[in-house]
Symmetry: C2
Protein backbone atom coordinates (compact mmCIF):
# COMPACT_ATOMS: atom_id res chain seq x y z
CA UNK A 1 0.00 0.00 0.00
CA UNK A 2 1.26 3.47 -0.79
CA UNK A 3 2.51 5.67 2.00
CA UNK A 4 0.31 8.64 2.86
CA UNK A 5 1.66 12.01 1.75
CA UNK A 6 3.68 13.92 4.34
CA UNK A 7 1.75 16.47 6.42
CA UNK A 8 1.33 19.91 4.83
CA UNK A 9 4.43 22.06 5.16
CA UNK A 10 2.33 25.24 5.14
CA UNK A 11 -1.22 25.54 6.39
CA UNK A 12 -1.92 28.10 3.68
CA UNK A 13 0.36 28.82 0.75
CA UNK A 14 -0.49 32.01 -1.10
CA UNK A 15 0.84 32.77 -4.56
CA UNK A 16 0.49 36.31 -5.87
CA UNK A 17 0.97 36.66 -9.61
CA UNK A 18 3.78 39.12 -10.28
CA UNK A 19 4.09 38.57 -13.99
CA UNK A 20 4.73 41.72 -16.02
CA UNK A 21 4.01 42.06 -19.70
CA UNK A 22 5.03 45.01 -21.84
CA UNK A 23 2.74 48.02 -21.65
CA UNK A 24 -0.06 47.77 -24.18
CA UNK A 25 -0.21 43.95 -24.27
CA UNK A 26 -3.79 42.94 -24.96
CA UNK A 27 -4.08 40.66 -21.92
CA UNK A 28 -2.40 43.12 -19.58
CA UNK A 29 -0.60 41.62 -16.61
CA UNK A 30 -0.90 41.47 -12.86
CA UNK A 31 2.30 43.45 -12.26
CA UNK A 32 1.09 46.17 -14.63
CA UNK A 33 -2.02 46.28 -12.41
CA UNK A 34 0.03 46.78 -9.26
CA UNK A 35 0.45 43.24 -7.93
CA UNK A 36 4.03 43.63 -6.74
CA UNK A 37 3.20 46.31 -4.18
CA UNK A 38 0.16 44.28 -3.06
CA UNK A 39 2.35 41.18 -2.64
CA UNK A 40 4.80 43.19 -0.51
CA UNK A 41 1.93 44.51 1.57
CA UNK A 42 0.37 41.08 2.03
CA UNK A 43 3.68 39.54 3.13
CA UNK A 44 4.29 42.32 5.62
CA UNK A 45 0.75 42.19 7.03
CA UNK A 46 0.77 38.40 7.32
CA UNK A 47 3.96 38.72 9.36
CA UNK A 48 2.52 41.50 11.53
CA UNK A 49 -0.57 39.40 12.19
CA UNK A 50 1.68 36.55 13.32
CA UNK A 51 -0.04 34.05 11.06
CA UNK A 52 1.59 30.70 11.67
CA UNK A 53 2.01 28.29 8.81
CA UNK A 54 1.07 30.87 6.22
CA UNK A 55 3.48 31.69 3.39
CA UNK A 56 2.99 34.45 0.84
CA UNK A 57 5.01 34.04 -2.35
CA UNK A 58 5.25 35.75 -5.66
CA UNK A 59 4.66 33.59 -8.70
CA UNK A 60 5.07 33.74 -12.44
CA UNK A 61 2.07 34.14 -14.74
CA UNK A 62 -0.95 32.35 -13.32
CA UNK A 63 -2.76 32.76 -16.66
CA UNK A 64 -5.82 34.63 -15.43
CA UNK A 65 -4.32 37.96 -16.42
CA UNK A 66 -7.60 39.60 -17.41
CA UNK A 67 -8.81 39.36 -13.82
CA UNK A 68 -5.64 40.51 -12.15
CA UNK A 69 -4.10 41.22 -9.83
CA UNK A 70 -4.76 37.59 -8.98
CA UNK A 71 -3.69 35.30 -6.17
CA UNK A 72 -4.42 31.69 -5.32
CA UNK A 73 -4.43 30.06 -1.90
CA UNK A 74 -3.54 26.38 -1.59
CA UNK A 75 -4.30 23.65 -0.68
CA UNK A 76 -7.88 24.85 -1.07
CA UNK A 77 -7.21 26.32 -4.52
CA UNK A 78 -9.27 29.44 -3.96
CA UNK A 79 -8.53 32.39 -6.26
CA UNK A 80 -9.02 36.09 -5.59
CA UNK A 81 -8.75 39.32 -7.47
CA UNK A 82 -7.24 41.93 -5.16
CA UNK A 83 -6.86 45.48 -6.40
CA UNK A 84 -6.23 47.42 -3.20
CA UNK A 85 -4.63 47.08 0.21
CA UNK A 86 -8.10 47.04 1.71
CA UNK A 87 -8.99 44.01 -0.40
CA UNK A 88 -5.78 42.29 0.67
CA UNK A 89 -6.80 42.97 4.27
CA UNK A 90 -10.20 41.43 3.64
CA UNK A 91 -8.62 38.23 2.30
CA UNK A 92 -6.14 38.09 5.18
CA UNK A 93 -8.81 38.54 7.82
CA UNK A 94 -11.66 36.49 6.40
CA UNK A 95 -9.75 33.68 4.70
CA UNK A 96 -6.36 33.34 6.35
CA UNK A 97 -7.27 34.31 9.92
CA UNK A 98 -10.84 33.01 10.12
CA UNK A 99 -10.79 30.26 7.49
CA UNK A 100 -13.73 31.72 5.61
CA UNK A 101 -14.06 33.26 2.18
CA UNK A 102 -14.55 36.67 0.55
CA UNK A 103 -17.07 35.69 -2.13
CA UNK A 104 -17.15 39.17 -3.65
CA UNK A 105 -13.47 38.95 -4.58
CA UNK A 106 -13.31 35.28 -5.58
CA UNK A 107 -12.65 34.10 -9.10
CA UNK A 108 -14.93 31.30 -10.24
CA UNK A 109 -15.22 29.03 -13.25
CA UNK A 110 -17.00 31.89 -15.01
CA UNK A 111 -13.80 33.93 -14.98
CA UNK A 112 -12.28 32.70 -18.21
CA UNK A 113 -10.71 34.95 -20.77
Amino acid sequence: MDQPDPPPFFRAHVFVCCNRRPDGHKRGSCAARGSEALRDYMKARAKELGLKGVRVNQAGCLDRCEFGPTLVIYPEGVWYQVRTREEVDEVLEAHLVKGGRVPRLMLTETHVA
Copy 2:
Protein backbone atom coordinates in the same frame (compact mmCIF):
# COMPACT_ATOMS: atom_id res chain seq x y z
CA MET B 1 -24.97 27.72 4.30
CA ASP B 2 -21.70 28.66 2.65
CA GLN B 3 -21.27 28.11 -1.05
CA PRO B 4 -18.86 25.35 -2.03
CA ASP B 5 -15.56 26.57 -3.46
CA PRO B 6 -15.39 26.83 -7.25
CA PRO B 7 -13.94 23.80 -9.06
CA PRO B 8 -10.12 23.69 -9.31
CA PHE B 9 -8.79 25.93 -12.07
CA PHE B 10 -5.76 23.66 -12.56
CA ARG B 11 -5.69 19.93 -11.92
CA ALA B 12 -2.08 20.25 -10.78
CA HIS B 13 -0.32 23.50 -10.05
CA VAL B 14 3.45 23.19 -9.82
CA PHE B 15 5.62 25.87 -8.25
CA VAL B 16 9.36 25.70 -8.80
CA CYS B 17 11.40 27.83 -6.43
CA CYS B 18 13.53 30.24 -8.46
CA ASN B 19 14.81 32.35 -5.60
CA ARG B 20 18.42 33.40 -5.94
CA ARG B 21 20.59 34.49 -3.04
CA PRO B 22 24.06 35.96 -3.34
CA ASP B 23 26.85 33.44 -3.81
CA GLY B 24 28.18 32.25 -0.48
CA HIS B 25 24.94 32.71 1.47
CA LYS B 26 24.82 30.06 4.18
CA ARG B 27 21.41 28.71 3.15
CA GLY B 28 22.24 28.72 -0.53
CA SER B 29 19.28 29.08 -2.88
CA CYS B 30 17.37 27.05 -5.44
CA ALA B 31 18.42 29.27 -8.35
CA ALA B 32 22.06 28.95 -7.31
CA ARG B 33 21.47 25.18 -7.50
CA GLY B 34 20.13 25.40 -11.05
CA SER B 35 16.37 25.63 -10.54
CA GLU B 36 15.72 28.13 -13.32
CA ALA B 37 16.90 25.80 -16.07
CA LEU B 38 14.97 22.93 -14.49
CA ARG B 39 11.83 25.07 -14.38
CA ASP B 40 12.24 25.90 -18.08
CA TYR B 41 12.74 22.24 -18.86
CA MET B 42 9.71 21.16 -16.83
CA LYS B 43 7.45 23.73 -18.50
CA ALA B 44 8.60 22.67 -21.94
CA ARG B 45 8.23 18.95 -21.22
CA ALA B 46 4.79 19.39 -19.65
CA LYS B 47 3.72 21.14 -22.84
CA GLU B 48 5.25 18.46 -25.07
CA LEU B 49 3.50 15.76 -23.06
CA GLY B 50 0.20 17.59 -23.63
CA LEU B 51 -0.68 17.53 -19.95
CA LYS B 52 -4.08 19.14 -19.61
CA GLY B 53 -4.85 21.22 -16.55
CA VAL B 54 -1.25 21.25 -15.41
CA ARG B 55 0.52 24.56 -14.87
CA VAL B 56 4.22 24.94 -14.07
CA ASN B 57 5.16 28.27 -12.50
CA GLN B 58 8.21 29.80 -10.97
CA ALA B 59 7.87 31.05 -7.43
CA GLY B 60 9.74 33.15 -4.93
CA CYS B 61 11.55 31.59 -1.98
CA LEU B 62 9.67 28.53 -0.73
CA ASP B 63 11.85 28.49 2.40
CA ARG B 64 13.26 24.98 2.07
CA CYS B 65 16.46 26.27 0.50
CA GLU B 66 18.74 23.65 2.03
CA PHE B 67 16.94 20.92 0.08
CA GLY B 68 16.74 22.74 -3.21
CA PRO B 69 16.07 22.88 -6.01
CA THR B 70 12.58 22.42 -4.60
CA LEU B 71 9.13 22.35 -6.10
CA VAL B 72 5.67 21.83 -4.66
CA ILE B 73 2.61 20.42 -6.40
CA TYR B 74 -0.84 21.58 -5.30
CA PRO B 75 -3.55 20.89 -4.33
CA GLU B 76 -1.91 17.79 -2.87
CA GLY B 77 0.96 19.80 -1.36
CA VAL B 78 3.64 17.29 -2.25
CA TRP B 79 7.21 18.60 -2.32
CA TYR B 80 10.15 17.33 -4.33
CA GLN B 81 13.83 17.99 -4.61
CA VAL B 82 14.83 17.83 -8.27
CA ARG B 83 18.45 18.24 -9.24
CA THR B 84 18.53 16.98 -12.81
CA ARG B 85 16.39 16.80 -15.92
CA GLU B 86 16.06 13.08 -15.35
CA GLU B 87 14.54 13.73 -11.93
CA VAL B 88 12.14 16.27 -13.44
CA ASP B 89 11.13 13.59 -15.94
CA GLU B 90 10.49 11.15 -13.10
CA VAL B 91 8.17 13.62 -11.36
CA LEU B 92 6.37 14.43 -14.61
CA GLU B 93 5.81 10.80 -15.48
CA ALA B 94 5.05 9.29 -12.08
CA HIS B 95 3.21 12.16 -10.42
CA LEU B 96 1.71 14.36 -13.12
CA VAL B 97 0.95 11.75 -15.76
CA LYS B 98 0.15 8.74 -13.58
CA GLY B 99 -0.99 10.42 -10.36
CA GLY B 100 1.55 8.55 -8.25
CA ARG B 101 4.58 9.67 -6.30
CA VAL B 102 8.36 9.53 -6.47
CA PRO B 103 9.11 8.75 -2.81
CA ARG B 104 12.88 8.88 -3.30
CA LEU B 105 12.69 12.57 -4.29
CA MET B 106 9.97 13.72 -1.89
CA LEU B 107 10.55 16.13 0.95
CA THR B 108 8.94 15.10 4.21
CA GLU B 109 8.48 16.59 7.67
CA THR B 110 12.02 15.45 8.45
CA HIS B 111 13.38 17.93 5.92
CA VAL B 112 13.69 20.96 8.13
CA ALA B 113 16.69 23.20 8.19
